[in-house]
């Protein structure tokens, strides 16, 4: 049964449940002189929820299990005996067979897949029908159960409240569970990677060239230090050299000097900058800043100046982060009680003395926390480096040289033609895992620092 038809049927059942629940409740109300805790529409909604939610929950679970069951069924057919042993190729053939079963006009690549397709179609429709029928039965059963519970004294109102709360909780859990799932898969794939490549080779190796991997010693060309260096150099050094001073100064200007009118339009403008898609910055870095810096580098005689330099990516990334740093610093400075500022001004300090001697020291923890968050954003940033810093993985202090970062390498590793269990692909997961751990730690430190500091003034 097509999913859309099924959903339509479930919705129809829900509507019927709603109407009949209402009618039943209205019939009860005819008895005079009684106060009801719930209105007929509450009873209707209660019945409708009981009709709609069980089949939907079931379908969600079923949707996850059915493909596996169907594949198992296919594997039992005689044609499946010719399949290669479990591995990448087998999975590819099975997934092609499934695609052919769902879309008859597709041109087959693998003859075996064509032969398996009919079996797939049979299995799929079988499990489809089983699932659909069960779902409808569940809906009817739920609706009947709810309908029978509707009595004059039945408090449908608080039940609905509970169902609503449960669905909200479920919705918020989904985000958390998804994250946990992603992390788990990262962990799993990384573990596979470290099964073939020693973790010390990866973390401390200084040679990175995944294009030429020696199968007997893959660790020799998968040392990630150049990537960490590039990431650190671009994200934490060059970008911060731009973002910290400019972000801080704009925050100081906005909180201390700008008239309320100017502040009223400058702050939103800065925040809009934070919403510019990073690919636009990447564009700018690759087409404008990169070539200009190369010319500059050549003009002042720097060897190896390239238009895809660490400097171009870092500078543009820094500009991108300025609004972020500025708004964090703005919050931190604004959180310092104005009595501090007045106290200093009343001593005869000028505004800039007040800022440098009282406000900034008092706001420092908040500012530091903001900078850490900014760094963690910068090192996770991908688009700009992909577009502007495509280069060799070298450890170089020369900002005019090319450089590469962890995120950029992940993109390269995964967009190439490689099977899913080669060390090259798995290395991407290991890189992702490392990056994740680093940014997680940075965020935790930053948030603790910021929180401590907020508490100090509240």
């Amino acid at each position: 049964m097509p999913t859309s038809a099924l959903l339509f049927l479930v919705a129809g059942l829900g509507l019927i449940a709603w109407l009949s629940g209402r009618v039943r409740a209205i019939a009860f109300r005819k008895a005079p002189g009684q106060r009801f805790s719930s209105l007929p529409r509450h009873h209707g909604s209660f019945a409708a929820m009981w009709t709609v939610l069980p089949p939907l929950l079931f379908l969600a679970v079923w949707g996850a299990c059915a493909p596996g069951l169907a594949t198992n069924g296919v594997l039992k057919t005689p044609a499946a005996a010719q399949l290669p042993p479990p591995g990448f190729e087998r999975a590819a053939i099975l997934s092609e067979a499934r695609a052919i079963a769902n879309d008859h006009h597709r041109t087959p690549l693998n003859p075996l897949a064509t032969r398996l397709a009919p079996a797939y179609a049979v299995e799929q429709s079988r499990y489809g029908w089983i699932g659909g029928a069960t779902a409808l039965l569940l809906g009817i059963a739920g609706g009947a159960f709810a309908f029978l519970r509707i009595r004059p004294g039945f408090n449908a109102r608080t039940r609905i409240e509970r169902i609503v709360m449960a669905s909200l909780l479920a919705a918020s859990l989904i985000a958390i569970l998804t994250t946990i799932g992603i992390v788990a898969s990262l962990l799993f794939e990384s573990a596979r990677f470290f099964g073939t490549v020693p973790i010390t080779d990866f973390l401390f190796g200084r040679h990175w060239s995944p294009q030429v991997i020696d199968p007997r010693n893959p660790g020799a060309s998968l040392g990630a230090v150049p990537l960490f260096w590039g990431t650190f150099f671009i994200g934490a050094v060059i970008a911060m050299l731009v973002a910290i001073p400019f972000g801080l100064m704009s925050a100081i200007y906005l909180t201390q000097y700008a008239s309320p009118r100017l502040r009223a339009w400058m702050k939103p403008t800065l925040e809009i900058l934070a919403g510019v898609p990073t690919v636009v910055y990447g564009y700018f870095a690759a087409l404008v800043v990169g070539p200009a810096l190369r010319q500059l580098g050549v003009a002042i005689g720097i060897p190896g100046a390239t238009s895809e330099s660490a400097l171009a990516a870092g500078l543009v990334m820094g500009v991108m982060i300025i609004p972020f740093v500025s708004s964090m610093a703005d919050d931190a400075i604004a959180a310092v009680p104005s009595a501090m500022r007045d106290g200093s001004l009343a001593m005869g300090a000028t505004p800039s003395e007040t800022i440098s001697r009282v406000l900034l020291p008092a706001a420092l923890p908040g500012v530091v926390g903001g900078v850490l968050l900014a760094i963690s954003r910068a090192i996770g940033e991908t688009m700009i480096v992909v577009m502007a810093a495509s280069g060799a993985a070298t450890i170089s202090l020369n900002p005019f040289n090319s450089a590469t970062t962890v995120t950029k390498q992940i993109v390269d590793l995964l967009t190439g033609e490689a099977s899913f269990d080669s060390p090259k692909t798995l290395a991407a997961f290991a890189l992702g895992m490392t990056l994740f751990v680093i940014t997680l730690l940075l965020n935790i430190i930053a948030l603790t620092v910021v929180k401590r500091y907020r508490e100090a003034y509240e």
Partner: protein
């Protein structure tokens, strides 16, 4: 205001001072003289403009974007609002202590050294040490903190913090000290200490104290000004104001009939 003793020895004079916050007038046409070596108390019901007027004396109203001051205020005959007046110097000469103690989140030593450092008053470390010790001693705090000068100023008790703020203010050797309800956040014992301190300081500085406490005004001040609805209703010798006020409104206020 025709009292003879009030006419001589004026440290500060204000003539026809009005203050607006945006379009709202907070102070109307106030004229008053602040005397050398005396304590002047500002009293009046809440919202009558005592703090506002006090802040005009060291131009702290400049920090409020909407505030606008008119009239003539002089310190030793110099126009406080003149274009060539250096606000930094003015505030060094006219110090201020706030209602809520507001020590900087620095050490006790650094709190007191803050002003001298900004104004370059100390020529050496030893000199600075002397200034810090002298200021803390005058503020009656030296004995309590001399062994923990490097502790944070914010770690002191409320009363100690307020005395630290007074020490901070006198460290730059001001000529006038403005205190806006310096005891309102303190308990009676700490209040008594501050009052004692005001007594000791009065021979050296002109002091203005805003207070809601009539007994306090009577105890510490020699001059009292009564404000009401942004106007200066009556100004004179404290003893006269409290025993024999000329204005009905003053009498009503100090006897607690409104306020």
């Amino acid at each position: 205001m025709t009292d003879k003793t009030i006419l001589n020895d004026h440290k500060m004079t204000a003539r026809n001072v009005s203050v607006w916050y945006g379009a709202v007038q907070a102070i109307g046409d106030v004229s008053i003289d602040i005397d050398q070596d005396k304590v002047t108390a500002f009293i009046g019901p809440s919202g009558c403009g005592k703090s506002t007027f006090l802040r005009t004396l060291n131009r702290m109203n400049d920090t409020i974007a909407s505030a606008r001051v008119e009239g003539d205020i002089r310190l030793d005959g110099e126009d406080v609002y003149a274009r060539e007046m250096d606000v930094v110097q003015l505030r060094a000469r006219v110090g201020m202590v706030f209602q809520k103690p507001n020590p900087f989140p620095k050490s006790i030593y650094e709190n007191v050294a803050y002003g001298p450092r900004i104004h370059g008053l100390a020529s050496s470390k030893a000199d600075m040490d002397r200034i810090v010790e002298r200021s803390l001693a005058r503020a009656g705090l030296w004995g309590e903190v001399k062994d923990r000068l490097s502790d944070s100023g914010t770690a002191l008790s409320g009363g100690q913090q307020q005395r630290l703020c007074i020490a901070r203010a006198i460290a730059v050797d001001p000529e006038v000290i403005l205190m806006d309800e310096p005891c309102s956040a303190l308990d009676p014992i700490a209040t008594a200490k501050i009052e004692e301190l005001i007594h000791e300081l009065k021979g050296r500085y002109a002091i203005v104290v805003v207070t809601h406490n009539m007994q306090q005004a009577a105890r510490v001040s020699q001059r009292t000004a009564f404000f009401h609805l942004g106007q200066l209703v009556e100004y004179g010798q404290t003893s006269d104001i409290f025993t024999n006020p000329r204005e009905e409104r003053t009498r009503d206020y100090i006897t607690g009939r409104y306020g």
